[in-house]
Amino acid sequence: MKLSQHIFSSLLCSVILYSCSEPSPSFYSSENPARLSEWNLFKLTPATLEPRSETLVFKPNNTLFSDYAHKLRTMWIPNGETAHVENNEIVYPAGTVLSKTFYYPIDSDGIFLRENDKNLSSLNLTKNRLIETRLLVKRDEGWQAFPYVWNVDQTEAFLRVAGTSRNIQLSEEGQQTQFTYFVPNENQCSACHVTEHPYGEMHPLGAIANQLTAKVGDTNQSQQIEKLISRNWLEVMPSTKPSHSWADRTASLEQRAASYLNMHCGHCHNKDGAADTSALLLDGSHDLAINMGVCKTPVAAGGGAGDKRYSIVPGSPEESILIYRMLSDQPDEMMPELGRSLVHDEGIELIHSWIEQMQGSCPNIQ
């Protein structure tokens, strides 16, 4: 073997090796990779899951309850591509890949813990357990959703078009809660991400202008937009009014409740949504109070009505179907229908207080 051949081979080998240890995120314009690693969004070792430096870790202002799972979100836009702003909304270029990794913190015995999300930007895998990573990918034909599920060894996540489920035991101060965690199938992804049912387009719910621009407490999230601009990922600052976070205790009860309902219900309960059949609008678009639920009788709620007559009875959360359905963990009764198996205590507390302080009443409550 000639020296030159040796050099060539070694070079080839190191190039491959190099691209192997430090690859860049990849965009697939039509193929749907079976393995999450093929997208090269993360650096994965047995000890850590770390988003690659090419990606941007971000956090929306207002977050969705997902059975107390923690979330790590990344955004990546290919080199040379830029998002623009249209009607005050960010329009991402083809090639954009958004990821959301769902995980739970664990203790030294591997027990899953119910804790507040600390918004980590990389994950120590001795202290956290990965469940799933959902991708939203912008292709020429629009956004597409892909649910990847992590294996037991935490060495790879696989595309599960039809979703899957896992039994989880969650511990909080020694108290155990057993539940089934559901990874959505692709249709269920669009149940929330397509807000104009059924012919609208899929779109992101977190990486949008008013979710990225807001200031929350003492963290200035508008820096997220500035980061986008400094990376040349975004042309200009969108001038949207930031939404209030339901968790932001500096906002009024009214604003927090509106935010919570919009976030958790509004993607179906809007004028074009899948739940417009019920005429219950929870995205803030109602003209009449009855369409926000006040003294509104159920239409097709079945057992979900909980033997109650109205969605909201002002001053009486216990008589309100809204609270009943939030408190339920039965698939045919609970709301939202998707995205949770557990009851969201903090959400109930908020909506309960909001209904409690509402003035008025409804006829024939019983």
């Binding site: 073997m1 078009v161 039809a162 059949t277």
Partner: protein, 402 residues
């Protein structure tokens, strides 16, 4: 040269191995039947036929279809069974938002919520499909069996719907509808057409429900103004099952023993039906006010109008009504409740014969309950309603070959 080529190939091979970064590739997980079916529904292409083999197939999660032009086909109403007895997620058995959809020759059993929900879809064929809660009528059963809503051009043919805690076959906020040759039993409502226009309901059997067939129009919904429904050549028999709907639902107001109930709907033609032994009333015609529910909707018309009941056969019924005013009437008269009961509410300026015409019914009796005046002076004379109304036209669906 040959040797060095070989060496090169070797090195490349080693390199290729190294591509995987010194890790063995974790294995792709296997899918179970449930996941395979859901995956095939997601990856289906228009024109595909998805076959459900013979047998009982268990599902823990809702199935859903969003791809248009797909057919789901089993091997028979009693042989290909999708069982949701162990369902843990999803408010339906199968949820469809896809036009040009056909489902046939299978059963959906024991879903925790609705069995087959079809939302926002056009050109829908549901043929020889059974939806059933196998434990019989119970409040904890799912609300609807076959449930197209906000859809157009719907054919439900040869369906069997059993045990729904609301309606066995329910078509809501839809238009151009045929429900025929179907059997609804042990539901709260056997067949219900709600806030819909242009429906033909014929050759069906509705028996042992709380109410056999309901035609309703409700306020404060995005689609209302329910009208133009023909209910004909049906057998509506002994619908005397106690009302097991969860409280709070409109259908919970239906008295047990109701044959046909028309609520606030307009232009309804009822003919050629056999009504037998429905113990509250064979036919009940009421305004929305009877529900005593508030509504805030300037566009809503709470009164039924232009109801034409002719050439029906009535046998028995009305013997033990499940309704306060009907019970009072039965006590006062010592007679069974008449075959056609009208609450007597009427829009100002309208004549009784614009509300209700009745002709050529066999074994015909009638009462106007005088609900407007607190049921104080019921009247039994139907002479003022001896009139006819124009026949409604037949519904024809473009995709049907005659």
């Amino acid at each position: 040269m040959r040797a060095s080529l070989c060496k090169n190939v070797m090195i490349s091979f080693v390199c290729a191995l190294l591509i995987s970064c010194d890790q063995r590739q974790p294995e792709i997980p296997q899918l179970n039947f449930e996941e395979e079916i859901q995956q095939s529904l997601i990856q289906a292409q228009p024109g595909d036929i998805i076959e459900i083999p013979v047998g009982t197939h268990n599902f823990t999660r809702s199935l859903s279809l969003n791809v248009p032009g797909v057919t789901i086909k089993g091997a028979g109403i009693d042989s290909s069974i999708l069982s949701f007895k162990n369902q843990k997620q999803g408010a339906e058995g199968l949820l469809v938002s896809a036009s040009d959809f056909t489902i046939q020759d299978l059963a959906i059993e024991d879903t925790i919520g609705d069995a087959l929900k079809i939302n926002d879809s056009n050109n829908v064929v549901i043929k020889n499909v059974r939806t059933e809660w196998t434990n019989g009528p119970e409040t904890t059963n799912g609300a609807y069996g076959i449930y197209p809503v906000q859809s157009q051009n719907i054919l439900i043919d040869g369906a069997v719907a059993i045990g729904a805690s609301d309606a066995g076959i329910y078509v809501g906020q839809s238009s151009q509808i045929i429900v025929r040759n179907s059997h609804a039993e042990h539901n709260v409502a056997g067949i219900e057409i709600e806030n819909s226009t242009f429906a033909d309901v014929y050759n069906n059997v509705a028996t042992n429900n709380t109410g056999g067939i309901l035609v309703f129009d409700l306020p404060n919904l995005p689609v209302q103004g329910g009208r133009n429904t023909r209910v004909y050549d049906n057998e509506i028999i002994t619908n005397n099952t106690i009302n097991f709907a969860p409280a709070g639902n409109i259908v919970g107001t239906v008295p047990s023993g109701t044959g046909l109930m028309i609520l606030a709907n307009d232009n309804i033609e009822v003919f050629g039906n056999t009504f037998s032994d429905n113990n509250s009333a064979n036919v009940l015609l009421v305004s929305y006010y009877i529900t005593e529910r508030p509504f805030d909707d300037p566009d809503y018309d709470p009164f039924p109008e232009y109801i034409y009941i002719h050439d029906n056969e009535f046998n028995g019924g009305g013997g033990s009504p499940d309704s306060e005013p009907l019970n009072a009437l039965r006590s006062a008269t010592g007679q069974s409740i008449p075959n056609v009961v009208w609450d007597g509410t009427i829009k100002q300026g309208q004549k009784p014969n614009e509300i209700l015409c009745m002709r050529n019914n066999s074994n015909f009796t009638f009462v106007n309950l005088d609900a407007t005046n607190g049921f104080s002076a019921p009247t039994f004379n139907a002479a003022i309603h001896d009139c006819d109304l124009p026949n409604l036209s037949e519904i024809s669906l473009s995709f049907e070959t005659k």
